[in-house]
Symmetry: C2
C-alpha cells in the first residue's frame, strides 16, 4: 500500500473532512455507535486467533507434492481444504469446471549454428530440499498456451521484448522477421513477449531468466541463498490474457461440463508462435553466440559476456508440442450465510494451484485464508453473526490463466452483479510492508483497517510503517508532504496477475488485493525451488507476516460483512480519478509535442548528424501531427463525480454523527444502491477489441499484461496514436463517470433520509 493525504482544499469542504478523518478510535465508518462497539470486540477476538504454527502446517501439507492443474495432488489439496472448511463448521463444497490446459509433450531448444548446444530444460534436485527431487510429478519447464511449433531460424536478442525495444531495434536496422527472438523475463508480463514478437514477424520466442533480475546479480543463489540458480526456470502462462482470461474455449461463460466450446483453432488467446522459457545456464551459450550490434547499455544483463542483438550467426531450433486435453478444476467454496443480509456477499479468495510445489506462490496466501476461515468458525461458535454472507474461495487454475476464478465469476455473473459487495484477494505473501491495490472507493476503508494491525517487525501499525516508507521513498518535496499529511495512504490501481481480475474488470465489483512484501527477495518464482524448504529458510520463516495477512484481510472481511452501511467512500475515488484525467490529458499533450519535436528534428537533420557512421542509427519515421482532443466531457464528468462524492460525504458524515441512524430498516435500499457504484464504472461493450474487459477505469494494459492502465480506453488510444478512438473513449469514460455520479447522488439522497 502506498500511503499519502486527501488534498483537503481541492475537495471544497476541508474542515468537515478534517473533522471526520482519522476516525476516533471508537467510531467505525458505516456502523452505529452500538454496532461499532460490538464489531470492535469481535475483531479483537478474531485477531488473537491466527497462529503461525497453523500457517506453517497448512503450507507444509499443501506443498508436499506438485499440485498443478490436472495433477492428483491438486485434487487432493482441494479435498483437504474442503475438509478443513467443513471441520471449521463452514458450509463448503467443490465446484468443478473443465478447461483447456495444455501440458508439454515435446520441448527442444538448441543452437544449430555457428556451434551446437542443446538446452537442458531441466531443473536439478537440490540436496537437502526433499521436494525438489519429485521429478516424475513435476510439470516440465514450459510456457502454457504456447502454440505447437517447430522452427529453426536466426536468433535476435530483444531485451524485454516490449514495443519500445522493437523501436530501438528498428533504429539499429535490425528486423525480427523470420527470426526466433530471445527476451529476458521482467519489464512486462511474460505473455506480452511472444505477442509483440509475433506482431513483428518473429517465428518463435525464447524467454530466459537473466541473473541480473533474479539470479546471482541479486545475491547468493539457492540453496546457498534465495536467488535463482543457474538452471532454475520460470514457468508461466503466455496466454493473451489482456484479451480475456480464463478458459480459452469458453470466453464470457462458465466452463461447465456442457458449456458450448470454441474449437481450439478459434481460441484467440493462444500464442501465435511457439514459446519456451529457459534458465540462464541454458541461455548463456545462445546469447554468447550472437553477433551483430552490441546491445544498448540498458539491455545488458548480468551474464559475464558481451550482449549482442544479432541477428545470427546464432541459429536456433525451437520445438514445442503439448497435450491439449481438457482438465478439471476444483474450486473450493465455503459460505457463511449472512444473518440479516444474506443476499449481500463479501467474497475472499486465493488460489491453491501451483506450477510445482508452490510454497510462496500461492500457499503463503492460501494458508492465511484457511486460518481466517478457522477463526471465523471459532467466532461463529461464540455467537458472532455476520450481517452479510461471507464466501471463502480457494481457487484452482490461477496459474495458467485465472481459470478457477474466471470460470466461477462467469458462471455466477448475474448473481454477483446483484449481490457482491466486495472481493478481497491475496496470492503470495512475504515480509515487509502491507501492499494494497484496489478500488479507490475502498481506499479509506483499507487505510482504517491497516491502522488496527500491528507490524510484526517494528511493532508499529502496518499503516504507520507504510506511511514512514512513503516518506522515505518520496521523490519530491510534494510527495513527501502528501505522505506526511494526507489522511489516507494511496492504494495502487489494479491491472492483472491474480484472481481479482474477473471480479473487478469483468463484473465491476469493488476489489482489494493485499499482501505483505518489500523485504527479502528471491528467484524461485514458478520453479521447483518454490517449496517449503525455501520458504521456511528465506522468506517469512516464522510466519508472523502470514499471521499479519490473516489479521488484515480477516478484519477487513468482517468489517465489510458487519457494517450497517457498506463503508465505500467516494471522495478519495473522485480525487484519484481526477488525477487519472490529468494524466491522460498530459499524455495527449506530451505525445503531440513529441511528434512535433521529432518531426522538427527530422527536418533539422538531428538524427543524421548524431548517427555514428560506424554504428549507424536509422532515423525514426515521420508521424502525422497529432490533433488536439476534446477532454471537456471527461473534465465535466470528473467534476460531477467530485460534486456527487462530496455531497455523499456530507450526508454520510451527518448520518454517521447521528450515532444510531444506520440502524433504520431501509439501510438495505441504500446498500443496494451502493453496490451499483463500482458496477456503474463498467460498460456493456467493454474496451475496444477486448469486450470481456468492461471496467473503464481499471484494466491491465494491452501491452503490459499485468501493469495497470487507468482510464484504459482513453490512455491506450493515445498511446497507440489512434486519435479517433481516443475521442470516442473520452466519451465512453465520461459516460461511466457520469453514471457513477448518478449512483452516488442517489445514495446521497438515500442517506439524507437517515438524518434529515
Amino acid at each position: 500500500m502506498r500511503l499519502i493525504a486527501r488534498p483537503m482544499v481541492a475537495l471544497g469542504f476541508g474542515a468537515l473532512l478534517l473533522a471526520l478523518a482519522p476516525s476516533p478510535a471508537d467510531e467505525l465508518r458505516g456502523f452505529t455507535v452500538e454496532s461499532a462497539k460490538a464489531e470492535r470486540e469481535w475483531e479483537t477476538k478474531f485477531r488473537a486467533i491466527p497462529s503461525p504454527d497453523s500457517l506453517r502446517e497448512y503450507m507444509r501439507r499443501l506443498s508436499t507434492r506438485p499440485h498443478h492443474v490436472g495433477s492428483p495432488y491438486d485434487k487432493d489439496n482441494a479435498e483437504w481444504i474442503l475438509a478443513k472448511f467443513k471441520s471449521f463448521g463452514l458450509d463448503a463444497h467443490i465446484e468443478n469446471f473443465d478447461v483447456l490446459f495444455p501440458t508439454p509433450k515435446e520441448r527442444v531448444v538448441e543452437l544449430v549454428a555457428p556451434t551446437t548446444f542443446r538446452a537442458k530444460l531441466q531443473e536439478p534436485a537440490v540436496p537437502g530440499d526433499p521436494t525438489s527431487s519429485q521429478v516424475a510429478e513435476q510439470l516440465p519447464t514450459y510456457n502454457a498456451y504456447s502454440i505447437d511449433g517447430d522452427v529453426t531460424a536466426p536468433l535476435v536478442y530483444v531485451n524485454f521484448g516490449v514495443p519500445a525495444d522493437y523501436e530501438r531495434l528498428e533504429r539499429m536496422g535490425v528486423s525480427v522477421k523470420g527470426a526466433i527472438v530471445i527476451a529476458r523475463y521482467f519489464g512486462s508480463w511474460r505473455g506480452i513477449k511472444p505477442k509483440v514478437a509475433a506482431e513483428h514477424g518473429a517465428v518463435g520466442c525464447i524467454i530466459y531468466s537473466d541473473p541480473r533480475e533474479d539470479g546471482y546479480t541479486q545475491g547468493a543463489v539457492y540453496p546457498q541463498g534465495p536467488w535463482r540458480p543457474k538452471d532454475g526456470v520460470q514457468r508461466g502462462s503466455v496466454m493473451d490474457m489482456p484479451l480475456y482470461p480464463g478458459d480459452p474455449l469458453t470466453p464470457g461463460i462458465g466452463a461447465t461440463k456442457d458449456a458450448k466450446r470454441l474449437p481450439i483453432g478459434e481460441a484467440a488467446t493462444i500464442t501465435k508462435i511457439p514459446v519456451l522459457p529457459i534458465s540462464y545456464g541454458d541461455a548463456q551459450p545462445l546469447l554468447a553466440a550472437l553477433g551483430g550490434r552490441v546491445a544498448p547499455q540498458e539491455w545488458r544483463g548480468g551474464l559475464g559476456i558481451t550482449y549482442h542483438v544479432g541477428p545470427g550467426p546464432a541459429k536456433v531450433h525451437l520445438r514445442v508440442k503439448s497435450d491439449w486435453s481438457l482438465k478439471t478444476l476444483y474450486d473450493v467454496i465455503a459460505r457463511i450465510p449472512g444473518a440479516s443480509a444474506p443476499d449481500e456477499w463479501v467474497i475472499r479468495g486465493n488460489h491453491h494451484d501451483a506450477w510445482v510445489n508452490g510454497a510462496e506462490d500461492p500457499l503463503s496466501g492460501q494458508a492465511p485464508l484457511i486460518e481466517e476461515a478457522r477463526a471465523y468458525g471459532l467466532l461463529l461458535k461464540q455467537g458472532w453473526k455476520p450481517r452479510r454472507t461471507i464466501i471463502y474461495a480457494a481457487w484452482d487454475g490461477e496459474e495458467p490463466a485465472l481459470l478457477g476464478s474466471t470460470e466461477w465469476v462467469e458462471a455466477h455473473a448475474d448473481e454477483l452483479a446483484t449481490k457482491a459487495v466486495a472481493y478481497l484477494n491475496s496470492d503470495t505473501n512475504n515480509r515487509g510492508y502491507l501492499e494494497v491495490g484496489g478500488s479507490h472507493s475502498l481506499e479509506q476503508f483499507i487505510n482504517d483497517v491497516a491502522r488496527d494491525i500491528e507490524d510484526p517487525e517494528t511493532k508499529l501499525s502496518v499503516w504507520k510503517r507504510d506511511q514512514l516508507r512513503a516518506v522515505a521513498d518520496a521523490k519530491t518535496a510534494d510527495e513527501r508532504q502528501e505522505a506526511r499529511q494526507r489522511a489516507d495512504l494511496r492504494i495502487d490501481a489494479l491491472g492483472s496477475g491474480s484472481d481479482y481480475t474477473p471480479f473487478l474488470q469483468h463484473v465491476g465489483i469493488a476489489t482489494l488485493n493485499l499482501g505483505f512484501g518489500g523485504e527479502g527477495g528471491g528467484g524461485i518464482y514458478h520453479s521447483i525451488y518454490d517449496d517449503f524448504k525455501w520458504y521456511t529458510t528465506f522468506d517469512d520463516t516464522s510466519f508472523v507476516y502470514g499471521r499479519a495477512l490473516a489479521q488484515t484481510i480477516g478484519t477487513a472481511v468482517m468489517r465489510l460483512a458487519d457494517a450497517d452501511v457498506v463503508p465505500y467512500q467516494f471522495t478519495n475515488f473522485a480525487e484519484t480519478v481526477g488525477r487519472y484525467v490529468k494524466e491522460v490529458e498530459k499524455l495527449a499533450t506530451e505525445t503531440r509535442d513529441q511528434i512535433q519535436e521529432r518531426n522538427r528534428e527530422l527536418d533539422d537533420g538531428v538524427f543524421m548528424a548524431t548517427s555514428d557512421p560506424w554504428q549507424p542509427l536509422v532515423p525514426p519515421a515521420r508521424e502525422p501531427a497529432a490533433p488536439h482532443l476534446n477532454f471537456a466531457p471527461l473534465d465535466d464528468a470528473a467534476d460531477a463525480l467530485t460534486r456527487a462524492a462530496e455531497r455523499y460525504e456530507r450526508a454520510f458524515a451527518k448520518a454517521q454523527a447521528n450515532g444510531s441512524s444506520f440502524g433504520k430498516p431501509d439501510v438495505g435500499t441504500l446498500n443496494a444502491t451502493l453496490r451499483q457504484a463500482e458496477r456503474a464504472l463498467t460498460a456493456a461493450t467493454g474496451l475496444p477489441r477486448r469486450p470481456w474487459y468492461r471496467h473503464l477505469v481499471y484494466a491491465p494494459g494491452f501491452y503490459t499484461g499485468y501493469g495497470v492502465k487507468t482510464l484504459p480506453g482513453v490512455r491506450e488510444a493515445i498511446e497507440q496514436k489512434n486519435w479517433t478512438e481516443a475521442g470516442q473513449q473520452i466519451g465512453a469514460a465520461a459516460q461511466v463517470l457520469t453514471a457513477e455520479a448518478g449512483v452516488i447522488n442517489q445514495a446521497a439522497e438515500q442517506v439524507d433520509k437517515f438524518a434529515p
Copy 2:
C-alpha cells in the same frame, strides 16, 4: 563542446547582440576589415595543409617503443620532435627538469584467505600487435606515487571509493578501518580512491577495471574489439594532485637542477597508503571471495558473480616498493616570434610522454600539434607574419603529474603572468564531436572557430554537428530551446586531467582544451594495448579527425595570434558566472533543507521503520541545522561583472563596426589590460588548504580530482558543511569578480577611445 544560446533578454541589450552574432562571414572579432580579410586567407591556406598521412606517420614513429618518463625512447621522441620543429624552420629547444618519479620494484597482490590466489599483474602480448610484446621496456602495471608498503588485511569492496560510498558502507555497518579496500575505476579520478580510503582508516587500496565500465560489458575486447581484455590494467598516477600537481618535491617552483627540494617524507602529495591497480582477471577471485552484505544495486559490476562488500573472509596481502630516484624531463619548446607584439604569447601544448606506447594517449593529440607546426613553417615561408609570439610545447611527464607543463609554468610564472594571452591544450583525440572546455571569455571565440571547421563524417561544420547533438541530448524543453537559439554553444568549465591546469589554475591564463570524441570507445587507456595497432584498427583510423583537430586548434592559435584586439568576450563569461552563483545558492538551500529533512526523519523514526531487520541499516548521524549564508556580496559582484561585460561589449561593438579603428597604435595598452582579465580571477592566497590553486572560478574538486568545481571555494565549503569557510569564500569570490569587473571596465574605457 556543448552548444546552446546567449539569453538575449537577460543581458539587457538583446537587439545589439543579435546584430553582432553570428558574425557576418567576412567579419572577425578583434580584427579590422582589412586584417580580417588577410586572416581569412591565411587561415584558409593553413587548413589545406594538415595531412592524415603525416599524422599517421608521426604516430607510428612516436609509438614504436614505450616512452614513459625516464625511458630512453621518451628522450629519443623529444629529440625527434625537436628535429621536426627545426626542420619546419622553427626556433626550438629542449628544456629539462629533474623530478621525483617513482617506478616499481616490487608488486604483490595476493589472496591469503579463505583460499589463496596470486594476482598476475601482467598484461600478455597479443599476436598481431607487434609493440605489445616489448615487455622489457614496458613500465609494469602500477599506480605512480603510491607510498611503499607491505600490508595484509581483510578486504572490503567500496564501489568507486568516493565519499558517498563510505556513507553507504557506514549505513550498512561496515568499516574499512584496518582493511584493504578494493575500488573500481571510474566514478572519480583514481587518485581520490586511496586518498578517501586512507581518510577512513584503510591500510591499502586496490583499484581494478570492472568489465562493466570498459571491458566486455561494453563490447568485444582487444584484439577482437576495442575494449579492455581480461588482463588489461589501467596504470596511472594516484598523487594527490588536487593539492598541487607537478614534482612533489618542488611545489610552486620549477624543478630545475639546482632547485631547493623537499625531503621525500615531506612531500604531501604522495599517497598515505600503498596502492596497486589490477585487471578484472585478477580482481575476480578477490571479489568472489568476499562475504558480508550483498553490494547495493548500483555497485554491481559486469563480472558474473554476486558482488559482496565484505569485510572478509577474503584477506589480502598487498606489497608495493618503488625506485624513488629523480628522472629528467624533456619539454620540447618551439617559438614563432610575434612580428609586432612579441611579448604577447599564444601557447599551444600537448604532452608526448605515455604510460607505455601511448598511441591514443597522447599521440593522437601530439601528432596534430606537430602537423600544425609544419603548416606554420610553410605559411611563414609564404610570408605569414603572426602579430604575437606563438609557442608550441610538447610536454614531458604529463602522465605522472602534469610534470613537464607544471614545472615549465612554475619556472616561467612571472613572464607568463605578463605575456600570456591564451593556452590551448589537447591530449587525446577520437572520432565524433568537437568537445571544448575552457575559460568562458573564449566561449564565443571558439564557437566562431568551430563554425569554420568541417566535420569529416557529416560534412557539416563541427559547430553545427555539436549543436544538433545538443538538441538531441537536451533533457528538457528549456535545454532544447537553448540549444536551438543561443548564439554560442556552451563550453565546459575545466577541472583537471591535462596540462592546462598550471596555466589556468595556477597563473590565471585564459585556456581552451580541445578534442574530438563521442564515437567509438575502448578500454586500452593506460595499458600496453594503447598502441598504433589498436588506434589504427579501432579509433580515428583514417586520421581525418586528427586533421580536423589540427585545423581547429591551428586556426584558433592563428586567430588569437593575429587579432588586433584579443577577442575575449565577457558577456558569455558573466552569464556563466551568474549560473554558477545560482548553483551555489541552490546548493546551500538544498543542503540546509536536506539536513532539516533528515533530522525530521530521524525524529519521526523513518530510518528505524524502513530498516529490514535481516539486513539492518544504521540510521545516519544527526547533523546540526545549517545557517543561511549571506550571498549578497557574490550577487552584487556578479551584477557588477554583468554590467562591465555589457559595457565592454557595447563599446567593442562600436569599435568593431568602425572597420579600421583597431589598427590604432594604442591597441597594445588595451591588449595588456585584457590579458589581466583572467589573472584577475586568481587570488594570491589560493583556495583553502591548497594555495597552489589560485583561480577562484575554476578548480578540480578536492574529492573529484578531475571533475571541475566552479566557484570552488564556496562550493566545496558548502559541500563540506563548513559554513564559516563558506562565508569567507563568498567574500573571496566576490572580491575577484569585482576585480574582474574593474579590469573589464578599464578595458571598456580604453576601447571607447578607438571609436569615441
